[in-house]
Amino acid sequence: MLSMKEKELIDGALRGEEEASRLLFERYAPMLMAVCQRYCRTRAEAEDVLQDAFIRIFDKLPKYGFKGSFAGWARRLTVNVALKTYQRKRYTNEQSGLENIPETGGAPRAYADLGEQELLTLIQALPDGYRLVFNLYAIEGYSHKEIGEMLGIQEASSRSQLLKARKVLQRQIEDLQRIAI
């Protein structure tokens, strides 16, 4: 549900008022910057995606129509912009043998010990394809069918990418644990 303040800001931005647009930006930019950082490898890339995302948000603002949460709508637009940015970039091919890495359960407690920055670093270190699918499935909550439609891949490929992403993350977390010990 939108607060009155948010509604006023959105109305002002729709009328082209720069002050309202700027306040809207300041309200949602930190959240959307975090989204961009998850989808990008570097801070510079994340800043470029954030800039493009906000341009798109203001261009598409008339289509929002006050349906649902503005934060959710803006987040979805930002994710789409991030995906489009990486659709032209390189794709990853894994070396054979990755499937042979035994799936270790991993202690759930170990995951909970990880801080935000560590989690972000782990995600950013993933290859592009794995990072996109893991973000979309594990964090954004899209289904494999929806991910397949968004990325133009088969549902089975989405499952496969997620599995491989988890393996890589588990191995990296174990490496971190070993280093910590």
Partner: protein, 431 residues
């Protein structure tokens, strides 16, 4: 034998209760499955909790960047549209100027034929005294009675008689006497209107025929075959089309991993003028379409970025018909026609979702040996250099399209290209 059977039967067959650890075994199996699944859930949950609602610091100049980008976008559109319009306008003015130059050249030629008439009046006077017909006199042949008509000579006898006299009798320098006499004669020639059609000017017969407006008056079209050698750089756009839905993953993988690079082509062709404005060009082209294959190799030691080059080498025979818009030194020709593709040789590798190692383009890419007939269009700008033994510099942007796919018809993924580029070269007439 039966003893052995009895032995095993007695040892094993008398067991009445099933193994007590089957339940435990089943529990262990279930637990392992649940543990794996729960580990996944735990991993996902850890990342979701930690990152979903996270906020991050925003660069202080981000708002300014957004405002500037939003302001520049419409300005950029207007500037682009204006640039395109200016380019079209410049091309139109250039075209107009070229045709005007050709008309001016033809006009200058016509003026040049008239200029020598004045000095010839003086010379004609000398000729008349010597008894030879003068062109000016021939042109304005009076029909005054008593005029002596000789072949081309129609000067009134009185004027003629006076010419030969004063120069000798007056003591004036010969030239001074001649000039005024020539002027009198010229004025008389102008006043004496011919009663019958005047004979054509001798000067017109001596000069070459003026070409019609808009043609290269100074440089008549060369006959015979001209040779052109061109070298060009090109950009090839790779497009994948699905023949079956199963190839969707392959298409995605190839689109993500292959990127166009600049290619090149070398052309040797002969051209022949079919008419004033039409020319035919045919020859051979060796072209190379280049792509970069880029992917990351994951190993236990880390990630390695791999970059390799793919290429499609082609031998083609273009046959182009050109329409020329000539100028003084600059000549523009619009060419179009088929390109017969004779040979395609792929080289390199590509990624396939079902294989962990890249596959070879030549053996596994399903490429055709040749792609049949394509289409080419180009705009040649020719600039003539030198006067005594001239040669022509050529600048030729071009565009090529291939309707057929480069891959076999049965291939699940059809690969198509179009190519654009620019060629530079020289043209020389074979003598």
């Amino acid at each position: 034998m039966s003893h052995i059977d009895d032995l095993f039967r007695d040892g094993l067959g008398k067991r009445e209760a099933p193994p007590s650890d089957t339940d435990k075994l089943w529990s262990r199996i279930q637990a392992a499955r649940t543990e794996g699944a729960s580990a996944h859930v735990a991993l996902d949950e850890a990342f979701r909790k930690g990152l979903r609602d996270r906020t991050a610091s925003v660069p202080p100049d981000m708002w300014r960047r957004i405002v500037r980008a939003r302001t520049l976008r419409p300005v950029f559109r207007w500037v682009s549209a204006a640039a395109v319009l200016l380019l079209l306008l410049a091309a139109g003015i250039g075209f107009q100027q070229m045709t005007k130059d050709s008309a001016t050249v033809a006009g200058n030629m016509a003026v040049a034929t008239a200029a020598p008439l004045q000095p010839s009046l003086v010379a004609s006077d000398h000729q008349e005294r010597e008894g030879r017909p003068s062109p000016a006199a021939v042109a304005a042949a009076p029909s005054a009675p008593g005029a002596q008509q000789t072949s081309g000579r129609s000067v009134p006898p009185a004027a003629e008689a006076s010419d030969s006299g004063p120069a000798a009798g007056s003591g004036l320098p010969a030239t001074a006497a001649v000039a005024p006499a020539a002027q009198r004669k010229a004025s008389m020639a102008v006043l004496a209107l011919p009663s019958r059609p005047a004979a054509p000017l001798a000067t017109e017969r001596e000069l070459p025929a003026t070409a019609p407006l808009g043609s290269t008056a100074f440089h008549p079209r060369p006959r015979g075959i001209q040779t052109e050698l061109l070298f060009g750089i090109s950009y090839a756009r790779q497009e994948f089309h699905l023949q079956s839905p199963e190839a969707a993953d392959l298409r995605t993988l190839r689109e993500f991993s292959e990127f166009p690079e600049f290619g090149y082509q070398i052309t040797l062709r002969g051209t022949r003028n079919l008419s004033q404005r039409l020319r035919l060009a045919a020859g051979l082209t060796f072209a190379e379409i280049r792509n970069e294959l880029e992917y990351e190799l994951l190993s236990n030691t880390g990630t390695t970025l791999v970059r390799t080059n793919n290429s499609l080498r082609m031998l083609e025979a273009p046959v182009l018909l050109g329409y020329s818009v000539p100028g003084r030194r600059l000549n523009v020709t619009i060419n179009a026609g088929p390109v017969v593709n004779l040979l395609v040789a792929p080289r390199g590798s590509f990624l396939h979702p079902d294989f962990s190692q890249p596959l070879d383009l030549a053996t596994d890419g399903n490429y055709r040996a040749n792609v049949g007939i394509g289409f080419m269009t180009s705009l040649s700008t020719a600039y003539q250099v030198g006067r005594k033994n001239p040669f022509t510099l050529l600048v030729e942007p071009f565009f090529k399209a291939y309707p057929s796919a480069f891959t076999e018809g049965a291939a699940a993924l059809q690969e198509r290209y179009w190519v654009a580029g620019i060629q530079l070269g020289v043209r020389k007439t074979l003598r």
